[in-house]
Amino acid sequence: MTDESMAGFMNSAALDGDDVLVRVENLVKYFPVRTAGFVRRTVGNVQAVDGVSLAIPRGKTLGLVGETGSGKSTLARCVAGLLPVTSGKVTFDGHDITNLSRARMQPFRREIQMIFQDPYGSLNPRRRVGAIIGDPFAIHKTVTGAERKRKVQDLMERVGLNPEHYNRFPAEFSGGQRQRIGVARALALQPKLIICDEPVSALDVSIQAQVLNLLADLQRDFGLTYLFIAHDLEVVRHVSDSVTVMYLGRVAEVGPKQAVYGAPRHPYTAALLSAAPAADPDAAASRQRIILTGDIPSPIDPPSGCRFHPRCPKAQELCSQLEPPLEVKAGDAATHRTACHFPVEAGENLAAEAAARR
């Protein structure tokens, strides 16, 4: 991290530091790539997350956007303590929880829960729903016996499931209902933070809206904080207070939802927004779509300088040499930061520039 970006980060930390529940500082997660055979030499690293900082204020939702391979799920797992981090720091509710031992992490596990993408794969098909939702109580030995059953049924009712279906198996529920089971399980120990990793991607639109409304109600009623990961930009816009856009393990742009969606400064954010199909034919017809060339590169051997430069419609010589710091650009709010040497200006026709480069 350069001095400049460090200053930018400290600056922002002071600004949104009033009541931060989760703070991630310069987090790095590499997965070593080893040779086959007995010696297993490390020949490289998958640089899944490479120097990411973010802060989530208590009771708010941070949306994390990015494509496959951008490192958003790895980041979430590092925050939840499911993966050890290579370097950097995760602070939860004032405590440093980076790479804690199993025993010392235990109390924090109650407060950080996760909802997974696939409602089919994340529930054990051979266990009854009541047992699945009751697991957190059993593991943390908080509630037992008849009291546990009552609590589980309360939870089921709270997420819109029939409490009488306590003894059913997951296979007897539809996709939307299974996701509600996942939500009930995450809620059981009254966590402070829930990490939602693509919680509605596998659901049909009408069911997706039911689950999103449920998550909003629970946040209001229990003061929950969400780290919300999704690739659907409209869903993220709907649920988030602020948005972080990731590209190939780094933060491209971060800021309040209105700023990032209304006036994106990073060319990648602009391309991502223009690529998302809107259910409005007139808007679709008038929109200038920025078509990028190529795919997201391999995180084993990421491009030099700005990692987006090989696909960027605005890339210049400098971009391949120097990594741009994440900083506030001229005219932006102090909470809106962009990692780009040549940020998008208002009224700029990026679609034409992209088309000219193709």
Partner: protein
């Protein structure tokens, strides 16, 4: 001249649990060069519908007609169908990884497909054609990449390879079943752009099956909304997005989070799609419909013309009740007031009365 005309197609499957009525009387037409978007949720019958056209639903009980270039596809033998499938009607499936054979080179698979249909083509010619096709769908260095295996391609490139294969024999029609669902947003934009471009170039008709209304808004000309094996509403893209008549279409559009109502609560359709084995009486959408009337419970509505001949909707609400304005809402409210004397109630009301019925 219509390219494909489907008339009153029904498809059902006999299973141990009962008869699954996947498609229950669907009619539509596709003109050359046109794009028809077929929209619906899981289990609405959209995939079974198109697979039946291609003879890919063995064991199903099929009635109706599907006339393509003057021949009824449903009457063709396996061998005759094999000549149509791939050559005159091509298919692009959702998952490009499982649609390509992992142990054969991508170029070989495209060449094989050409040679299977055109016996006079030599191996060398087919291989050259594969290179040219890969170049046409925007794969860089096609002459080298043609020798790659599918796992060496990224998701977007695999889908491009599938499109190359679909284009190989210059089909009259392409059926694309969720072609971009497995792809990231920027790659999806690339693929949709490519499909549009190629379609303009070659004048191929396209049937696009998707659950994503955004994709339909982007590239379809006409849209058919399916629910429980039937067309709930059909019309031009503008009819469906701005003048929609069927409450299911309206509900689908309102379920999507959008920029205009970003801070608002979403308005989901209550309940779930019905089981195709045990369908509700009357209109199949009535248990989830906010405008349910007594006749909806007993009588299934047929498609009726709404404003012009291209816009059809299967709903008992008055013809003028289209779109989202206050006038339309007043018309709907009036109709519901008059039409609800008996026991018609919605899922939302039932749940409000007694929450334990949620099953």
């Amino acid at each position: 001249m219509t390219l494909l005309e489907v008339e009153n197609l029904t498809v059902s499957f006999n299973t141990g649990d009962g008869v699954v009525r996947a498609v229950r009387g669907v009619s539509f037409a596709v003109d050359p060069g046109q794009t028809l978007g077929v929209v619906g949720e899981s289990g609405s019958g959209k995939t079974v519908l198109t697979q039946t056209l291609l003879g890919l639903t063995p064991g199903a009980t099929i009635t109706g007609k599907a006339v393509f270039e003057g021949t009824d596809l449903l009457q063709l033998s396996q061998n005759q169908m094999r000549e149509v499938r791939g050559a005159r009607i091509a298919v692009i499936f959702q998952d490009p990884l499982t649609s390509l054979h992992p142990l054969y080179r991508v170029g070989w698979q495209i060449a094989e497909m050409i040679r299977a249909h055109e016996k006079s083509v030599t191996k060398k010619q087919a291989a050259d054609q594969a290179v040219e096709l890969l170049g046409r769908v925007g794969i860089p260095h096609p002459a080298q990449r043609v020798n790659d295996y599918p796992h060496q391609f990224s998701g977007g490139m695999r889908q491009r390879a599938m499109i190359a294969m679909a284009l190989a024999l210059s089909p009259q029609m392409i059926i694309a079943d969720e072609p971009t669902t497995a792809l990231d947003a920027t790659v999806q934009a690339q693929i949709l752009d490519l499909l549009l471009h190629l379609q303009r170039e070659s004048g191929t008709a396209l049937i696009l099956i998707t659950h994503d209304l955004g994709v339909v808004a982007d590239i379809a000309d006409n849209v058919m909304v399916m629910y429980a094996g039937r067309a709930a509403e059909k019309g031009t893209k503008h009819d469906i997005f701005y003048q929609q008549h069927h409450p299911y279409t309206k509900g689908l559009l309102e379920s999507i989070p959008n920029s205009s109502g970003a801070a608002e609560r979403l308005r989901p359709i209550p309940g779930m799609p019905p089981s195709l084995i045990n369908l509700p009486s009357g209109c199949k959408f009535h248990p989830r419909c906010a405008y349910v009337m007594d006749r909806c419970v007993t009588q299934e509505p047929e498609l009726q013309q709404i404003r012009d001949f291209s816009h059809l909707s299967a709903c008992w609400l008055p013809i003028g009740a289209v779109g989202v304005g206050s006038d339309a809402e007043r018309l709907r409210a009036e109709a519901v007031r008059e039409g609800r004397m008996g026991a018609a109630v919605t899922v939302a009301e039932t749940i409000a009365a007694s929450p334990e019925v949620l099953s």
